[in-house]
Symmetry: C2
Subunit: 410 residues, 2 copies
């Protein structure tokens, strides 16, 4: 008998019929003898409806403590309906809001972080041989105010509960059936991974593979909570996210992520002197624009070329800021490009396998794909290429690194 | 500077515009220097929407603890929006759900009763010079479960808070501008009362004048909380419900209430012996049918005639039960009538003024209205007459007891 924390997102509980389907799923786990805690999100559409009400009062960008009081009702509706559906089917269940479960957070309204919870209380409820249905995404600060964890925070609630009570597994049910080597819409041969490490998953998530919330993965990694992503709608084992020690085989590469949302900006011929990077990026960050990749090259004439990427939505503002800075620095030219894409190879195997970067560059060169920028970390190599090469780059790398067939689908 | 608890019902907060109107109203009281606690209901329509969801899961008659978890979200949405609207207008406000405010109840889900609340906590929040916006209708039982007080329970929440912190006045804002001598749709000369006693109000409320929840009036009477009914939409003093000592003048009659929802059942010729009433009413009450008026007459032949009234919705079931009982008792006849109405004169002045009953019967006789049943209490005389005489009876009594003009409208 295992203790399992399950999380079902907004789409999985988007109607009464779907909530009843979740109830059946939970009951199937109970019948296998497991203890189950279910964390749910608001029914899909509900959060937007509530935000619409808030906008009518507060204007376009609602914020502040009362927004959390408002939004947290969304999950509360779901827990009541799911607990009803379980009890209706003879499966004893009790619902709990975040505050009821003693989930404590800091006071960063709209994006609070969990600081503590009443693990003993949760265990006492479990000991009464019932399913606990928990409202994700919410808690209470030290002054007794309702807080929310921000969009997607239900994943974090599930992981935090699993960590607090040392659950055997935290299962995140979603509308995909696992984590894939890359996006199957780009590479039809993409394969579902049986396992992936927390570190790899973090890179996959932050690079645009939107299966799991980054904070939830960090949290799970920190507390070593085995995390499984699986489908609400389709049977299957999903993908287990776990620590490196548990990897059965050591694949060099776990997957290929890509990100279409970036734009590139360059400034040429700035004086090559200490502090130049800060002079260029300072005004960008003062304008509240986040920078992702940064590359600096020295030219022969003692000037430097400086290139960085930002989110496409920030491109026009960043260009304006950069043009001002360039003028002050006496730079020779500023240019930018929004038709780029970042493609990344991710895998903890890189640590022990040399030469992966050159294999990657070789592969792209054979397809005549020009690399615009390169950036590497311990378990990731990212390149920026022209957007038109995205599909070609992903497919040739997927083949080169044997991602399609190293593990057979069961 | 007074401490005022205000309650706004579902219609008063039925849209964002109306919530903003309530915010303006609250601010006008703040500007007069008062401290204000606002108790609100769910936006009109919201409770029905939530009940619809519950029905989809539980069937036609949703019930149980999870229903309270579901329904209590309705008020939570309102408190968030109202607190936002107040803050938006520069009036410092904080929202609190029932559980947050430490409102404790028993565990009678769907119709719980308030047992305690954290008065010190409420005073501490007030001391921070802000409006407290409270979700009515809800609390927490001793096991930490969310409970609701049943429909209309927000009135009770408001009165209970006023009692706990010894507020100067509890104001119930509604869609009528006060308590009237009778229903103005029946008697256009009906007059708004400036004051009425708790006891009179209880009789008015229980007899179909649906301005206030009966439990709230009982509660206010018990703790001597001055209660005022006034309109959300129209300026005015409303009606103050208070203890008898505070009555400025002692009117004989406060008002005339009536109830169209009853039906009359009679059984004739039952043996006039001890225990006969129990034998007749026992099976009715076993069938979960509530009985209102009961009259028993002895005939000349040592048999008795027994008449009682029930809610019209229960009439058919009650008739069936009564026919069975009559057969067993050897009664000579059973009959019933759904075209009746109960008309009642209410007033604490009856205690000191003799002869009001005969004045009432006289008045009805002059209009040739036949009285079918009579029942009296210390401050009330009720008669059952044919439904077709309702308007005539109310108008002649209204005139007879000078209800139209004893106090001038301001």
């Amino acid at each position: 008998m295992a203790v399992i924390v399950q999380k079902y997102g907004g789409t999985s509980v988007g109607s009464v019929e779907r909530i009843e389907h979740v109830a059946e799923k939970v009951i199937s786990y109970r019948k296998q003898g497991h203890q189950v805690i279910v964390v749910v999100s608001a029914m899909s559409g509900e959060t937007d409806r509530l935000l619409g009400l808030a906008r009518a009062v507060q204007g376009d960008y609602p914020t502040g403590p009362e927004l959390d009081v408002l939004l947290s009702t969304g999950e509360q509706v779901t827990i009541a309906l799911l607990a009803m559906a379980l009890n209706q089917r003879g499966c004893k269940a009790i619902s709990r809001t975040g505050p009821q479960l003693g989930i404590k957070t800091d006071s960063a309204f709209n994006k609070a972080r969990i600081t503590d919870m009443d693990a003993a209380g949760i265990k006492a409820l479990l000991a009464q041989d019932q399913v606990i249905v928990v409202a994700g995404f919410q808690g209470l600060d030290d002054d007794g105010n309702i807080t929310t964890l921000g969009r997607g925070g239900s994943d974090t609630t599930a992981v935090a509960i699993a960590a607090a009570i040392t659950a055997d597994e935290c299962q995140i049910f979603t509308d995909v059936d696992g984590v894939y080597t890359t996006d199957p819409r780009v590479e039809p041969n993409a394969r579902r991974l049986e396992k992936i490490t927390f570190e790899e998953m973090l890179e996959m998530a932050s690079l645009g593979s939107k299966v799991l919330q980054i904070r939830a993965v960090e949290f799970a990694g920190k507390y070593k909570v085995p995390l499984r992503v699986l489908s609400s709608f389709k049977e299957g084992e999903g993908t287990l996210i776990t620590t490196e020690e548990n990897q059965m085989e050591e694949a060099k590469i776990a997957g290929i992520a890509f990100n279409r949302d970036e734009a590139k900006l360059s400034v040429k011929g700035v004086p090559d002197q200490p502090g130049i990077a800060a002079k260029i990026l300072g005004p960008i960050s003062s304008a509240n624009i986040e920078v992702d990749m940064i590359v600096q090259n020295v030219a022969w004439d003692n000037t430097a070329n400086f290139t960085f990427t930002v989110h496409r939505n920030d491109y026009n503002r960043a260009l304006e800021v950069l043009q001002n800075t360039a003028k002050q620095l006496g730079a020779s030219d500023v240019n930018g490009d929004t038709s780029i894409v970042k493609v990344s190879l991710i895998g903890v195997g890189m640590r022990s396998h040399a030469g992966i970067a050159s294999e990657m560059f070789d592969c792209l060169a054979q397809e005549s794909i020009n690399i615009r920028m390169i950036s590497t970390s311990e378990i990731k190599i990212s390149v920026v290429v022209d957007e038109k090469y995205l599909e070609l780059a992903v497919r040739c790398l997927h083949e080169k690194f044997d991602l399609a067939d190293s593990i057979k689908e069961e």
